[in-house]
């Protein structure tokens, strides 16, 4: 008896002393980089994952709230007001600033790691593999240049001061040395860094490499676009020369398309104008509320909106077709007071495509559509809220039943580059002159060309043209106005004002008095046109210097 019991105890203790209790293997955990990235295909999958980190939705949403693009919607429940964004309250823990900063540095960190891994793989790679690896490297440098361009544009206080503070120059492998704290590099250092990456990408891509990608990926055209946007910020004569060179190279592959092609770009189309877009598909996101438009609409763009088009922006869009300025979208025949589904008896379609691209029109039903009050100035606040419903229509959803708020987002379009060229023309004093199709020699002609391609009658003549190009300041003002309607809700307005506002003599972001809450405008010289360095970076990094004002 005693022995049996003893045996049991000894066996039990033996069983209990196994080290498997602490050397626990977690099923499916992989920690070895070499076993994750060891073929060109795996490296390519690593690069593709980087696109997913681009905070494109946040950029668009940020620019809508912190500029004069939005007004308060009928279904507003404190959106924009409770967090102060509608009053231009921008603080150092701004979620958009945090997201933009963290995500673009995340992309660079991962890009640098893959670059390092590819360099380990290259010596033993076959000729065919080397070609593929080089393509991935080209894409990595393109994405790194792109990320640096974004960081540069949001966080640099003064683009035109070569020795002024910009962002971190992140050109090294960073794995787990968390005590490495970088300083902000200067403007000229970051500009050179971006130029260098573009050059590397071009040489690695070779003759055809980057051309093989669709507009959702890095491409030769995207590389030129990065340069053009970069030089438009730097604004030195040398930079402007480079801008024009890049523009000329870009013109060989991209050009303005017609108005209907333009409209199709906000669906699935690429057009001849599309350079780089952030592709979204119906399986992205975590549900029906995912997508760029979820900052303005709870569930779909016909539902009650948190935010709608601000009146000051709407009026700019409305002005594009002077014959119909002030008109409503439709005349409805109303059945009864209860039933707001109504029959359309007349339609006042604007000829300039940019009105239709930005203003949502549900057509036959008044409910869920844009309702324009012609006498909005005379309405009481309540009436204005209910009778002047201006719906944002640029992102109409990939699929009404699956992702009604989600859309692909354009990052670079040709017209953006063309207007960048116009900025150069304005700087050089080329304000007016020959105004003709295909002539980009002066500001007026560039705007003429753009507007010609936005006329939905496809006649290639402008619906209307601004007239005052009398001074560089006026020319800048025209460019800024043109950009406001061309790129409404595409995330440009904030940076456009930062870059051009003072030169254009603009009053800055100005809400219409009907939309005004408390703080109704933000002057273009405000410190708030540079984003704050996010709080987590300030807390973590003793070498980081905060931007003025935060």
């Amino acid at each position: 008896m005693k022995k049996i019991i003893l045996t049991i105890f000894v066996a039990a203790s033996f069983l209990a002393s196994c080290s498997d209790a602490y050397e626990v293997e977690q099923p499916g955990f992989v920690s070895d980089e070499a076993s994750v990235f060891s073929t060109p295909e795996q490296v390519s999958r690593g690069v593709k994952a980087l696109y997913n980190v681009i905070p494109a939705e946040q950029e668009v949403q940020f620019a809508s709230f912190y500029t004069d693009e939005l007004g308060i919607g009928l279904g507003n429940l404190g959106q924009g007001t409770n967090d102060g964004s509608y009053n231009f309250s921008l603080i150092s823990n701004n979620e958009y600033a945090n997201s933009i900063w963290a995500n673009y540095y995340n992309i660079i960190n991962r890009a640098n790691r893959i670059e390092n891994r590819v360099k380990e793989l290259l010596p033993t790679a076959s000729q065919d593999e080397i070609l593929k690896y080089n393509q991935s490297l080209a894409e990595i440098y393109a994405l790194r240049a792109f990320s640096n361009l974004k960081l540069f544009s949001y966080f640099t206080p003064d683009y035109t001061n070569p020795s002024g503070l910009s962002v971190i120059k992140f050109d090294f492998l960073q794995t787990d040395n968390y005590t490495r704290f970088e300083k902000r590099a200067t403007v000229s250092e970051i500009v050179a860094f971006i130029e260098d990456d573009i050059a590397k990408a071009k040489s690695l891509a070779g003759e055809t490499g980057m051309e093989n990608f669709a507009s959702g990926y890095a491409s030769n055209a995207m590389l030129e676009a990065i340069l053009i946007k970069l030089y438009s910020m730097v604004q030195t004569p040398a930079a402007y020369t480079e801008l024009e060179n890049a523009f000329n190279r870009l013109s060989e592959i991209k050009n303005l398309g017609g108005a209907n092609e333009f409209l199709s770009m906000f669906g699935e189309g690429d057009g001849t104008e599309g350079i780089f877009k952030y592709i979204r598909v119906v399986t992205d996101g975590t549900g029906i509320q995912s997508g760029v438009a979820n900052a303005w609409y709870p569930t779909n763009i016909t539902g009650q909106a948190y935010m709608e088009i601000g009146r000051s922006l709407y009026n700019e869009l409305d002005k594009l077709d002077p014959a119909l300025t002030g008109k409503q979208l439709h005349d409805y025949k109303t059945y009864s007071a209860q039933q707001r589904d109504s029959l359309v008896t007349a339609t006042y379609s604007r000829l300039d495509a940019r009105y239709g691209a930005s203003v949502f029109d549900a057509g036959t039903t008044k409910r869920g559509s844009t309702i324009v009050a012609q006498n909005y100035l005379g309405l009481t606040p309540e009436e204005y809220r209910e009778q002047d419903v201006l719906r944002i229509g640029k992102y109409q959803g990939l699929n009404a039943t699956q992702r009604p708020l989600m859309n692909s987002i354009w990052v670079f379009r040709f017209s953006d580059m063309l207007l960048a060229l116009a900025e150069k023309r304005a700087a050089n004093g080329n304000l007016t002159g020959t105004v003709a199709l295909g002539d980009y020699s002066n500001v007026e002609s560039i705007i003429f060309n753009l507007r010609s391609h936005r006329n939905t009658d496809e006649s290639l003549t402008p619906v209307d043209m601004p007239t005052n190009f009398s001074s560089p300041q006026q020319a800048y003002a025209r460019i800024l106005e043109e950009r406001r309607v061309e790129f409404a809700f595409e995330g440009h307005r904030y940076l456009d004002m930062k870059r051009l506002g003072v030169k254009a003599g603009s009053p800055g972001f100005v809400r219409h008095e009907k939309d005004c809450l408390n703080v109704c405008s933000l002057e273009p010289s405000s410190y708030k046109l540079t984003m704050p360095i996010p709080r987590p970076e300030m807390v973590a990094n003793p070498n980081m210097v905060q931007n003025t004002g935060y």
Binding site: L6, R45, W101, P536, V539, Y550
Partner: protein, 1017 residues
């Protein structure tokens, strides 16, 4: 109850307490019994004035050599001692009466050892079934509140069965890691702190172990204290006893002090606001004539008086070598929010056996529990169509609930805009009708223990157990609900079901070799060596499905499944996920204790632990403790003093915390490595990416604790209590370390920083009246805990997570609010003003203007006080709890005083004091847009959440045995009781006690009135 104690103590006294023998005189024999006639084995029979005596055997018998006139004192823990005088007879029997006056338990039970209170050198408090039984709380944790000095229990949810109860022992010992104690039930460490399946009526006692002397033996998980739960057992040689405990009661919502508006008040507020701010944007709304006629109390629509009932039937019996305790229980707790509740079925069987020579002792505990929990979802969120409490608490009084007919019509009204923005309560009425979430939990606790005495002094033992738990959660949203139409109305099929299945199994085994011996009557040595092995496996899977055919819809939603086709795959194909986790720990340790003459004792523990969470270099941790005691009352010089108990204790030692990210036994694995994952699709392409940044330096959080305590009893324990002073220091704190974004993340978990908790705990009880039929006991527990951040290794000397309103600065308190200080409303502009860092004021403060406010949501003072009164079978128990110097952010109030809510939801009458050009010294800023968003980062809404609460009140009658004879009952007790009856507090919300720093739209704990009966056959 006494009989079940017997078994535990038999083992103990038989092994350790071998008192002296031998004396000349005649052989006197006797039997020591209880009032009920049960023999008491292991009682000590001492000859008064000597150290001679003996223990009773298994049948309660003793034999001593005595002279006529000798006095013997019969002592047994839990009973009043009696002194008998030897007469002519050679038989001297004793009957012991249970001593109910004992405040603190008489034994300290932990997983590894059981020590008499007298010989215990540690800070521990034991609560017995007397305190726990029959209370109308679904979780026994809530019952412990105010009973144990230093144990702070804050329940954050009134959802029956919620595990949202924060238990803090001696303050917050960690910041990001686990702060809750380790729970052990019948020797099995729990894999989680979910107790919804445990029947409180099965609990015999709960020991709360506090200082390092008590907890170091738990090493890796002892850092935050240990709560050891022992369930009921039967004694050997006992007749069948059957007992029924039943409670029925009703719970209701507690009061609030938000001073919310009725329709009239709201209407006149809007009129006044409109007049003051005619051009505000968004415009100040006005009520319609129809709305003015409505005055709805929305809490009545969503909340209810909830019924609860609980029934436990237990059977216990024992033969010579075998005893068994079996109980079955059924409970039904309705939640005060409609359609929430908990139903529970429990079965427990404890079986104990021993060999005739007492060398082999074994026991098994099997507990099978099934519970069904109807849960409210989205509680505490801002989803106006999801969180019921926004309907119950925030909805406007002028909305008519009769406007709700069905989901379709509600949706049409929403889409048409015929209703404004105030649909919230109607959406939630619809959700209540059409959504449900039910969680079924099955929990099986099985454990077996065996011990064998190799020699008289050496015992080999093993205790192995399994904690097995499955959770099946099923949530449904009906096809015709508002939310389904809102989100999926454009599809052909609606209705959604989400389903989660999880199972977790934790096996633990502990093998020990223990040695006990006594020399020369005065030297007692006990020692043990142990090996412990714990391994756990968790698997979980989930499925989400949209699209059901209404013809075949069922409430739990698995029927009528719409099969996806190639063209509808994106709409109707279910999404699913799977998860697998393993965890384990391994330890070996030893413990030795030495006693000299019941006067001095030392206890030493050392333990080596390995955790699966750390790298090879950091895997093992060593923890130790030393404790000592001096039983002053056993000294010669104390012989005639009033002290029947006076003991000084001291301990110092270390424990560890390996639960880095507060994920429990599972999770937070391999954080020391770079990990990769497949996923992150772009344009439908499967990417490869890094999913974890490594911190190879992660290691144990180390807690060092010193404790000095005094236990005392005077005038035969008429006044008794204990006092403890401690200093507890946590080093290598887990904190979210912010890192530069160049690392590809902005933070990683890391060990850095130190904090300390210093405090005093006191528990005193006194019998003001102590007569045979009348007894009045007053008791008080109190704890003062001062925590301090000692070290933050950053240049600034502080640590602040920028997403939070609180942080940690060296010298400051833990979780200290770090906010702008509100300076007042500018009388000229109506804007809020805040102090700048230079002492000026500004409307737009920046981060540099933040201040450390010295306030925290962790209470500094907390405890309880109460009384027990008994008279001729009547009894009254009252128990108050309190927490002082505790501050929280009132997020509900923020919405009650916020212009964006006007016309949407209810507001406070306080808000009527808003700024206008004619009301310049207003409490609230101007209504037409302001910088009030900054108040969210300020102390404007920080509220004193101190409280005193009548936590428990019970009145009842204990029938005398002789009155029950005709019913053939052996005991009958009836009582009425109340929980949370009244609270004195400045906190405005429904529940001052919440464990959260921010409170918004939460499920408050209720007050409960109940009636109970206990019948013994």
């Amino acid at each position: 109850m006494r009989s079940r104690f017997t078994w535990i103590l038999t083992l103990f006294f038989a092994l350790i307490m071998q008192v002296g023998f031998a004396q000349s005189g005649k052989q006197v024999t006797g039997v020591v019994k209880t009032e009920d006639g049960d023999p008491i084995p292991g009682a000590t029979v001492m000859v008064v004035g000597t150290t001679f005596g003996t223990d009773t055997d298994d049948e309660g018998k003793y034999t001593l050599s005595l002279k006529k006139g000798d006095k013997v004192r019969v002592v047994y823990e839990g009973f009043k001692a009696v002194t008998l005088t030897v007469g002519d007879s050679s038989v001297l029997n004793a009957t012991l009466v249970e001593d109910e006056s004992v405040l603190l338990g008489d034994v300290v039970i932990d997983m590894y050892r059981t020590v008499s209170k007298e010989k215990s050198a540690v800070a521990a408090t034991t609560v017995t079934s007397k305190t726990i039984e029959g209370r109308p709380n679904a979780s026994f944790l809530q019952t412990l509140q105010g009973q144990i000095p230093g144990l702070n229990i804050a329940t954050g949810s009134g959802q029956p069965g919620s595990s949202d109860t924060q238990v803090l022992l001696r303050g917050l010992g960690s910041i990001n890691g686990n702060v809750q104690p380790l729970y052990i039930i019948d020797g099995v460490p729990m894999s989680s702190d979910r107790f919804r399946s445990i029947n409180p009526n099965d609990i015999e006692n709960i020991s709360v172990l506090k200082d390092a002397g008590a907890t170091a033996i738990y090493g890796n998980r002892g850092a935050n204290g240990v709560i050891v739960v022992t369930t009921k057992n039967a004694s050997f040689d006992s007749a069948l006893s059957v007992k029924y405990v039943g409670t029925v009661g009703v719970s209701s919502l507690q009061e609030n002090q938000y001073n919310l508006m009725n329709t009239n008040e709201y209407d006149s507020f809007l009129k006044r606001a409109k007049a003051a701010y005619p051009s505000a944007n968004p415009p100040i709304p006005s009520l319609t004539a129809a709305q003015r006629k409505v005055d709805t109390d929305w809490t009545d629509v969503f909340m209810r008086d909830a019924l609860m009932s609980t029934h436990t039937l237990s059977f216990s019996a024992g033969s010579k070598n075998l005893s068994s305790y079996t109980s079955v229980g059924y409970s039904d707790y309705e939640g005060i929010l409609k359609d929430t509740g908990l139903q529970r079925f429990n079965f427990r069987s404890n079986l104990n056996g021993k060999s005739s020579d007492d060398r082999l002792v074994f026991g098994t505990n099997v507990s099978a529990n099934f519970s069904k929990n109807d849960q409210a979802t989205s509680v505490g969120t801002n989803g106006i169509n999801q969180n019921y409490f926004l309907g119950a608490f925030q909805a406007a009084p002028w909305v008519d609930p009769n406007l709700y007919t069905n989901g379709r019509e509600l949706y049409n009204n929403y889409a048409n805009g015929t209703f404004g923005d105030w649909l919230t309560p109607l959406m939630l009425m619809d959700k209540m009708r059409s959504d449900q979430q039910v969680q079924n939990e099955f929990k099986l606790l099985v454990n077996g223990n065996i011990s064998y005495k190799l020699t008289d002094n050496l015992t080999l033992g093993n205790n192995s157990g399994v904690d097995y738990q499955t959770i099946h959660q099923n949530g449904t949203s009906k096809y015709d609900s508002f939310n389904q139409i809102l989100f999926y109305g454009s599809r052909e099929w609606q209705g959604s079901v989400n389903n989660i299945n999880e199972s977790r199994m934790v096996f633990s085994s502990n093998t020990s070799l223990k040695y006990d011996n006594t020399w020369n009557d005065v030297h007692t040595l006990g020692a043990g060596v142990y090996v412990e092995y714990i391994k756990g496996h968790l698997t979980s899977s989930s499925i989400n499905k949209l699209g059901f055919d209404p013809i075949f819809w069922s409430e739990d939603g698995s029927t009528g499944w719409i099969q996806p086709t190639a063209s509808t795959a994106l709409l109707y194909a279910p999404t699913a996920s799977m998860l697998k986790q393993n965890a384990g720990m391994f330890s070996y340790f030893g413990n030795a204790n030495y006693d000299y003459d019941r006067r001095y004792g030392v206890d030493v523990t050392i333990r080596r632990d390995a955790s699966f969470r750390f790298t090879d270099e950091n895997r093992w941790g060593t923890f130790w403790s030393v404790s000592g005691r001096w039983n002053i009352n056993n000294e010669k010089f104390m012989e005639n003093s009033v002290f029947n108990n006076l003991k000084l204790r001291g301990s110092y030692g270390t424990t560890g915390n390996q639960d880095i990210l507060n994920t429990g036994f599972f999770g937070a694995e391999q954080r020391y490595q770079t990990l990769y994952r497949s996923g992150a699709q772009y344009n439908g392409q499967q990417g490869l990416y890094i999913s974890n940044l490594p911190n190879p330096n992660l290691q144990w959080e180390i807690v060092k604790q010193g404790n000095i305590g005094l236990d005392f009893g005077v005038w035969n324990d008429r006044l008794r209590g204990s006092l403890d002073v401690y200093n507890k220091r946590t080093d290598d704190l887990y904190l979210t370390q912010f890192v530069s974004a160049i690392n590809g993340a902005t933070s990683i978990p890391a060990n850095y920083g130190s904090l300390e908790n210093k405090g005093v705990e006191i528990g005193i009880a006194g019998d003001v009246i102590r007569k045979d039929n009348t007894r009045l006991t007053l008791n008080v527990t109190g704890a003062y805990n001062k925590n301090k951040v000692l070290e933050i290794p950053s240049e600034t000397g502080y640590y602040w997570n920028p997403d939070l309103s609180y942080g940690y600065q060296v010298g400051g308190v833990v979780n200290e609010f770090y906010l702008f200080e509100f300076a007042g409303i500018n009388p000229n502009t109506g804007m809020m003003e805040f102090y700048t860092k230079d002492g000026g004021v500004t409307e737009q403060p920046t981060d540099a203007d933040r201040r450390w406010l010295g306030k925290s949501s962790v209470p500094v003072y907390q405890g309880g006080f109460g009384l027990d009164f008994e008279h001729n079978g009547w009894f009254l128990t009252a128990n108050f709890t309190y927490a002082q110097d505790v501050w929280r952010f009132d997020n509900d109030y923020w919405f009650y005083t916020n212009p964006s809510v006007l016309g949407n939801g209810n507001i406070s009458n306080d808000y009527a004091d808003f700024w206008t050009p004619t009301n310049r010294d207003a409490r609230f800023p101007r209504l037409d847009g302001s910088n009030y968003d900054r108040s969210f980062d300020s102390d404007f809404y920080i509220q004193d959440a101190s409280y005193v609460r009548l936590r428990f009140l019970s009145v009842g009658y204990n029938f005398k045995k002789k009155d029950l004879d005709f019913l053939k009952l052996s005991g009958l007790r009836v009582y009425a009781q109340g929980e949370n009856l009244y609270t004195w507090t400045k906190w405005r919300g429904w529940d001052a006690e919440s464990n959260r720093t921010f409170d918004y739209g939460q499920y408050p704990t209720p007050k409960t009135v109940s009636f109970g009966v206990e019948v013994s056959f």
